[in-house]
Homo-oligomer: 143 residues x 4
C-alpha cells in the first residue's frame, strides 16, 4: 500500500480536550497552559489561562509534541537519558511530566501538554481532558 | 466528528517517490538531494546522491516541509513576501523552487523536496517522482 | 603530502547499511529511524520506519554524526562530560547510545545512527547493519 | 562499489593555502580572516590576521563551507535566489563573494573562505592561495 488511512484528531476533538482541561484546571484552582497537537506533532489549539506561567507557553507545546512523538507520557525516563534525548534531537523532547499521548481506537492520534502546575497537577488535567474526549466519542458512537 | 480519517503517505509510497526521483536525476545527469515528508511535515526518507551539494541536505528537507505545509509548490511567491514568511515562521518556510506537494485522491498527503540542480531541474525531478507514485497507485487499484 | 587519498562510504554502501538495518529492525519488531552519514558527517540516506518516533528523525542523524566525529560509539562517556561536550560543541554531539562508527580497512568512513528503541535495541540494529556492509565488501573482494 | 577512494585536503596542504593567503593579504596591506575546510565542509585551519574584522571569523568559514558544498565560487547567484538558498538550508550558504572551491586532479577537495576585504580583495587572496597549493603539488610530483 502506497498510502495509509490513519486516524487524526479533528479541531472539534482538540476543542473538547481544551475545554475539559480548562474546566479541570479551574476546578483545581490552578491556572495552566494547555497545548494540543495532532498526530504529526503540529499545534492545533492552545490556551494560556489567566495567571499561568509565561515559560509554560513553550513547555506545554513541547510536552504535547513529545507525547505524540514517543507515544508515551513524558517524564518517565531516567533524567540522564531524557536529557540526552533532548540534546540529541535538537531540543525536541520534553524530559518532564505533563505530556500525554491521546490514544483512540488503538491509534495515537495526538498529544496534550499541560504546564504551570506541579507534575501531579499537570497530569491530572491532561487525564481529565482525555477522559472527556473518550466520553464524547463514545457518546457520538452510541447516538 | 472528534476524529478524522485521513490519507497519509506510507513508507512504501515514499520509497516509490525516492526511487523515481533518483532514476530521473540519473537520467538527467544531475545528482540531487531528495527528501520526502509525510502529511505532518516529518521526514520519511532521504538520499543525497553521489556528487550532490552538501547544503542541499538541509534545503531539500525544508522544501518538502514547505510544500506539504503550504499545499502548493515552493518558490511561487514574490521574494519579499516569501522571505517575510520564512522569518516570521522561525525559518520553517523555503522561499525557493524545488518543493512540491503530493496530492492523492484530492488530499495533500506529503511533500517532496529536491535540491542541487537549477530550479527547473529540481522541479522536473519532483514531478517525475509524483507521476511515478500516481502510476503505482493506479496500477495497484486496477489489479 | 598536500592531499590524502582516503576511503569514503559510497551511496551504494550506505544503502546496504540502511537495508540491513531495516531488515534487522523488522525482525526485532521495533520500528526505527536510521541515518547514515559519510566521513565528513554529512547525511547520505535516512529512513523513518512506519511507527518510529518523530523526534528520532533528529536524534538518529545526531548519533550518526557523533559516531563518525568521535570515531567511537556514542553513549559511552560519563553523562556530565558528554553533556558538557554537547553544550561546548553547539549541540553537535549525541550523549546517548545508538551511534556507531563504520570502520573499513582500518579507516572510519562513516557513521550510523539508530533511534526509537532502547539503547540495546538501537545498538543491535546498528551492529547488524555494519556486519552486513562488511560481508558485502568481503564478498565483492572475493568475487 | 561500497566504498570510494577519494582525494581530500591534508593539513599540510591546508597550511600551504593558509600561509599563501596570509602572504598575499600582507602584500596587499589588507588584514583578512582565512578559513580552510576539507571536502566534508569541516574546518581545518583558520587565522584572523591582526586587524581583521570580528564578524569575518564567521563569514570566512561560511564562505569556505559554501564553496566546497556547491563546488563553485560564492557570490555568483542572483541575490534573491542566494538568500533563498541560505534560508532554506538553515543558513549554511554564503551569498557573498570570497569563497572558492579547491579543485585538484579534477576533484573538489576543500574550500577556502576569505573575509574582511572587498569582494575583489577577498577573491584575489583566495586565488593566490589556490595557485600556491597547485604549485606545491606540481613541484612535489616533479621531484
Amino acid at each position: 500500500m502506497y498510502v495509509n488511512r490513519v486516524l487524526d484528531l479533528s479541531v472539534q476533538g482538540a476543542k473538547v480536550l481544551l475545554q475539559a482541561a480548562i474546566a479541570k484546571a479551574e476546578a483545581m484552582g490552578v491556572p495552566q497552559c494547555i497545548a494540543i497537537v495532532d498526530r504529526g506533532g503540529n499545534l492545533m489549539v492552545f490556551e494560556r489561562m489567566e495567571g499561568a506561567k509565561l515559560h509554560s507557553q513553550f513547555s506545554a507545546i513541547q510536552k504535547a509534541y513529545t507525547a505524540v512523538s514517543a507515544k508515551v507520557s513524558t517524564g518517565q525516563l531516567p533524567t540522564d537519558l531524557a536529557v540526552g534525548i533532548a540534546l540529541a534531537s535538537g531540543n525536541r523532547f520534553a524530559t518532564i511530566a505533563g505530556g500525554l499521548p491521546i490514544e483512540i481506537h488503538g491509534e495515537v492520534i495526538g498529544g496534550i501538554g499541560i504546564g504551570s502546575g506541579t507534575d501531579e497537577q499537570d497530569i491530572e488535567v491532561a487525564e481529565a481532558a482525555i477522559e472527556a474526549l473518550k466520553a464524547a466519542i463514545s457518546s457520538e458512537a452510541g447516538s
